[in-house]
């Protein structure tokens, strides 16, 4: 049975739809990451699960029980906020025990729960400090500790790392991954706009766009077999190149004549009825290789960025097409201003028709 189930969930503010037709099954023990561009409603969806926003359509079930109108505290969830939301006037210990005190649990049980959480998060030395005497990373740990103490069925994280600096973000990300491993039975939902966090933490990623779910899948599924152009371009950095063309040969291998003059072969099979269709081929920058014959793209390198481990080539834009970027391994010198031809292996060439993948 799924731990948390969303069925046709919708959110609207008056006549304005923010989210609609959200269907999602989350199993116990999963770490689900919601990603999407700003304003796609990922935080709103999380807050609806938490009970901080009203669900205006559909049902939310946790362990088979409809939760739409259950008060937040009784849903069996705990939330970690982006701004930590620690109670500034309470010590770390009081912050972590607040929920249990409100629930009138026995003091011994509260102490045990706080001690256990403090131990997991290495917060023992700080238990009697006020939040203002803690660093950003420690505050975030207290916020997580406050969630652990409640022993919820589902943990909700709302961009928990956004307020930390880059180095601390990486460290805390690993800590959250460890925490998840230490509590394999707990279910977590994690909202972020950072796809690195999504790729590294998630057991499954939910990409939200255009008021709905664009695709759900494991990180590598989304990377290797995106369902649509949006997901293809959203996952991966720099984003996938899209090149317009026409299908000229069908079968197990599909041949595409590109508008830029090149041609491509994709390992995605097509039927005879597809011949002549206008499509976009998608090639990730890192899948491009230098070639001498049958290039997908041949053009002048407008600009290069040498990052040491890789070199990014920016091709000159031709007649309104999108900027094409190739990521070549290692250091490539003296390519700027040169004519360069690149191609990609057929299994790395994605095919999109009307924005949707042609992979069956």
């Amino acid at each position: 049975m799924s731990e948390l189930k969303l069925t046709d969930v919708a959110k609207s503010y008056g006549p304005v739809d923010v989210l609609k037709h959200i269907d999602l099954d989350i199993e116990q023990g999963e770490l689900i990451v919601f990603v999407g561009p700003s304003g796609c409603g990922k935080s709103t969806l999380l807050r609806m699960i938490a009970g901080l926003e009203k669900i205006t359509g559909g049902t939310l079930e946790i362990e088979g029980q409809v939760m739409n109108d259950v008060p937040p505290a009784q849903r069996g969830i705990a939330m970690v906020f982006q701004s930590y939301a620690l109670y500034p006037h309470l010590t770390v210990r009081e912050n972590m025990s607040f929920a249990l005190k409100i629930a009138k649990r026995p003091a011994a049980e509260i102490d045990a729960a706080v001690e256990r959480a403090a131990q997991i998060l290495q917060l023992d030395p700080y238990l009697d400090r006020l939040p203002k005497a803690l660093s950003g990373g420690q505050r975030q740990r207290v916020a997580i500790g406050r969630a652990i103490v409640r022993d919820p069925k589902v943990y909700l994280f709302d961009e928990p790392l956004s307020n930390l600096d880059a180095a601390l973000r990486v460290a805390t990300r690993i800590e959250i991954a460890r925490l998840k491993e230490a509590m394999p039975d707990s279910t977590m939902i994690y909202v972020t706009h950072d796809q690195v966090e999504a790729m590294t933490l998630a057991s499954r990623i939910v990409v939200l766009a255009n008021k709905g779910i664009a695709q759900v899948g494991t990180p590598l599924e989304l990377y290797e077999t995106p369902d649509n152009e949006f997901v293809a371009q959203f996952i991966g950095s720099p984003s996938m190149n899209l090149l317009p063309g026409t299908i000229t040969g069908t079968g197990q291998m599909t041949t595409i004549a590109l508008e830029g003059g090149g041609s491509a072969i994709s390992a995605i099979p097509t039927g005879t009825e597809d011949e002549g269709k206008q499509v976009n081929i998608g090639v990730r920058p890192e899948d491009f290789t230098l070639t001498d014959s049958d290039p997908i793209l041949s053009g002048e390198v407008d600009f290069t960025e040498a990052l040491g481990e890789v070199t990014l080539l920016y091709f000159a834009k031709s007649n309104g097409a999108d900027q094409v970027i190739a990521k070549l391994p290692g250091i490539q010198r003296n390519l700027r201003g040169q004519q360069v031809s690149v191609t990609a292996r057929p299994e790395k060439v994605h095919l999109f028709h009307n924005g949707l993948s042609m992979r069956k």
Binding site: A50, L52, A73, A85, Y87, I102
Partner: protein, 335 residues
Amino acid sequence: MTPALQGLLTIIIGVSGCVGYFYLSNQFLDKVLFPPRGPNAGRNINRANMIRPWLFLFPALAALGLYLAYPVVETLRLSLTERVPGGGYRWVGLDNYTQMAAEPKFWEAMRNNMFWLIVVPAMSTGFGLLVAQLTDRIRWGNFAKSLIFMPMAISFVGASVIWKLVYDARPAEQDQIGILNALYIFFGGTEPQTWLTVPFWNSFFLMIVLVWIQTGFAMVILSAALRGIPEETVEAAILDGANPFQIFFKIKVPQIKTTILVVWTTITITVLKVFDIVFAMTNGQWETQVLANYMYDKLFRANDWGVGSASAMVIMLLVTPILIWNVRNARKEME
């Protein structure tokens, strides 16, 4: 010359006088006294910059000294002297204070002031907090707030006149124009009461006037403080299972504690100085005397400058510690 024109002229002269002072004194400092030229240019610039703040502060300091510091010293001196009939003063030490301490009216004023001190700040802050919280989320909250804030714009004497009408009593056979008596009769009271002459309780009727005025002040400050509480802490408390009362008392109030203290002490200071309301409504009769009105009685009615000044010193001694505490709290809040 019409008074309006006179006033305008005064304003023009005053303002241009101020501007002229700052401009000309600054010019004098830079051009004549320490010009940034010649062999000592660097030293001159430093000196000019050391003097400049004092130059600009001087008018304010002089005015404060003349109208605040000097009167305090002079009052202290007066409280230790006695006027000799026919002119002149005589040093009497603490005689004025001992004489004052022997007067029951002084102790009545002290006692009433203590009641005022407890009741008015507590009720004003309490009501202000209540209103600030209740009006925070409702659509007509701002309208309600402006209504409650309005008494702040009324002078104490004006408010006293309004409330005197509220407590007004007419002979039993006439219609009651005082709303309190009207209600009292309506709910079965037989005789209209002259509320302001009922000892002990009449002080509280006077306090209500000040509460009515100060609630608006407390509300505005506390409302801003409540809005400043991070919304996430409230949401976190909701998720932790706190009910609205627990959120208010355990999450919100502790977070605005310093603001509540500042509001409380500010009203306390106003209360210690309360004069107009008592003066206009009962003039200290029927056991409603307070310190400020007692001081006024002694100074200007009894012409006893010695005891009057002594009571002024008592008020100052009572206000000063609260004032210092208030400023400290306000500073802490700004951090």
